[in-house]
Symmetry: C2
Subunit: 127 residues, 2 copies
């Protein structure tokens, strides 16, 4: 393990994933097998970090694991997988735009209700 390598604990701290989840993601092929230090411990590199951060982004915006696995497989195909990777990301982009719209609509509804409740509350005090 060189100076720049990170332990699983450190990666967990940096990414917000649990140590369990990091091992789980590796086991299901969402990450390539992480290099090991002499004692068998995982030694994460900066390249690994970048991939993990992308995974976390995709997950937090609702991409299911099976789709991220497909994306990981396309990464392993190298150049041959590029147009498929683009297609997958474009699909996700479409979903995110719909999600953003739903979210904005809901914010409007919420703010409307909140304003109504607030008006009722101040009426309660003065009335």
């Amino acid at each position: 393990m060189t100076d720049k390598d990170l332990t699983i604990q450190q990666v967990a701290g940096l990414t917000g994933l649990s140590v369990h989840t990091l091992r789980y993601y590796e086991k299901i092929g969402l990450m390539d097998p992480i290099r090991r230090a002499k004692n068998g411990h995982r030694a994460y590199h900066m390249d690994d970090m970048e991939w993990i951060r992308l995974i976390v982004r995709l997950r937090s915006t609702g991409m299911p694991i099976v789709e991220m696995q497909r994306f990981a497989d396309m990464m392993r195909m190298g150049d041959a997988g590029i147009s498929r990777r683009r297609a997958l990301l474009e699909e996700h982009e479409q979903k995110l735009m719909l999600q953003a719209k739903e979210l904005e609509d809901t914010l409007v509804v919420l703010r409307d209700k909140i304003a109504y409740y607030r008006a009722w509350e101040s009426g309660e005090h003065s009335g």
Copy 2:
């Protein structure tokens, strides 16, 4: 069952929830018991529909069932629950604003990668 009442099937069609889910939501107290027609079938009214649509909105923007149950309980408290309802909705509003930011950030990342892939693909053709 009067003319304006809806069957569970119709409500499913109108809300996007499954018949199973509608019964499930009623069972766990997310909805008040729905009135019954003479034959024992559920007869949904327009008031029910409005509540269901709110539920669907909250769910689709990530509110867990247990929190919607709390909100339903506050509805049953009537006026006494109003300020608590407002607090709950304001909390959700905060979460949605964070979600919206995460979403926008991810869209930037995705578009960046898509553009990169696209550039690579066109280079592939001409080179």
